[in-house]
Symmetry: C2
Subunit: 230 residues, 2 copies
């Protein structure tokens, strides 16, 4: 059972907050110490759902990070997305009715389970929220795939810039921790782990970033943006 502070802090940046936090619900949430929906904790590598599982719920991430992936032919996995605190995972399963990806924690996680039936019920009761949902889903359509870039350097540079935005949403710090492995990054960007590592090393050697294992500091923002643009 998550404590009050945790819920309150994560709920304030949750993309679905307008659904939970309106009216009297916010007071309920903040007085009794748990959100409208049930929380779940996941340890690193633990699965939230698996391919072909029946779709029943969306999940809002209160803490931690997840990846979604599809199994590829040669035991490899094609990573379809990373999801961080405040973001929603599961939209893509609404249509097929079963999960088309698997989702596993890349960190210890706390997620908020939102049963889809109840969610639709809430939409019926509070139709002013449907515009918000449509907006959220439209937003999902724009999360660009980095595969559109042709060179490894472009992909990695654009990926780092995206991470900076999503991991430090309110802050203007230029430092963040890569929650995922080089292999995961490679599988997401359509590169091998070796190429990913080589590009990161080159960016470090060229003083564009500072790299210490999983800690990244952006030293030359303009150069990085320039590399991402091509």
């Amino acid at each position: 059972m998550p404590n009050h502070r945790l819920n309150y802090e994560s709920c304030t940046i949750c993309n679905l907050a307008p659904f939970c936090m309106g009216d009297e619900i916010i007071s309920e949430c903040s007085t009794n110490g748990h959100s409208l929906f049930k929380s779940k904790t996941l340890k690193r590598r633990e699965a939230l759902y698996l391919l072909k599982n029946k779709f029943q719920s969306l999940y809002a991430i209160q803490k931690g990070a997840l990846k979604t992936y599809q199994a590829e032919s040669a035991g490899k996995e094609l990573i379809r997305g990373f999801y961080f605190t405040g973001e929603i995972v599961g939209y893509e399963a609404i249509h097929p009715g079963e999960h088309v990806f698997s989702a596993v924690a890349i960190d210890d996680c706390v997620v908020c389970e939102i049963p889809y039936d109840e969610f639709l019920e809430m939409l019926r009761e509070r139709p002013e929220l449907q515009k918000h949902l449509i907006t959220l889903m439209s937003q999902q359509l724009n999360v660009g795939s980095y595969l559109k870039f042709t060179t490894a350097e472009q992909r990695v540079a654009a990926f780092l810039l995206d991470l900076l935005n999503r991991l430090n949403p309110a802050d203007d710090a230029l430092e963040f921790i890569l929650p995922m492995s080089r292999q995961d990054i490679g599988n997401y960007l359509g590169l091998t782990a070796e190429t990913t590592s080589r590009v990161l090393s080159r960016l470090h050697k060229n003083q564009i970033i500072k790299l210490n294992r999983k800690k990244v500091t952006i030293l030359q923002m303009d150069s990085l943006k320039h590399l991402a643009d091509g």
Copy 2:
């Protein structure tokens, strides 16, 4: 002003038909010869909307085909999607409120303009339709990018299979016309026009497809699926 038959036929396969065709609206549509919304005709190469245009409407394609693209650095364009008869274009602009792609006709087209404000109004009046919309948008999230494939052959094979599905939805024919140029295919798949042409020629030489300019016939469906899987 489009004629009765055109509207009726295209409306029956339109993904938004549940919005127009229910109740008395269907009779209105089929008696007076035009749909609930305004039709627009576009000639080949004509733009439906341009990058940064204010987002005002979704468009259902009654006839023809369009592509959406973003301008790239070196005068190249990155094609983000092709859209065919019965499909909806424009969802991705809902969130930003302005168009993030440009959309142009690759064929002579007829589209049905659906002003977004009126669309939301319809959703308010007929809330049973909102589940349908959410489903449609979820479906969009799953239209796989072919860039996830690593080799040119995989991408082209998967692209041909997708086109077969979308251009012959009800039919089991194995023949279709490529509405777009080799350059467009290449820009969509992250390849050059030369590589696209080479792969198509190789598939033809290996008797997997029959290729005559823009006409494609799939000769060995299993082999093609096998190539797409990798």
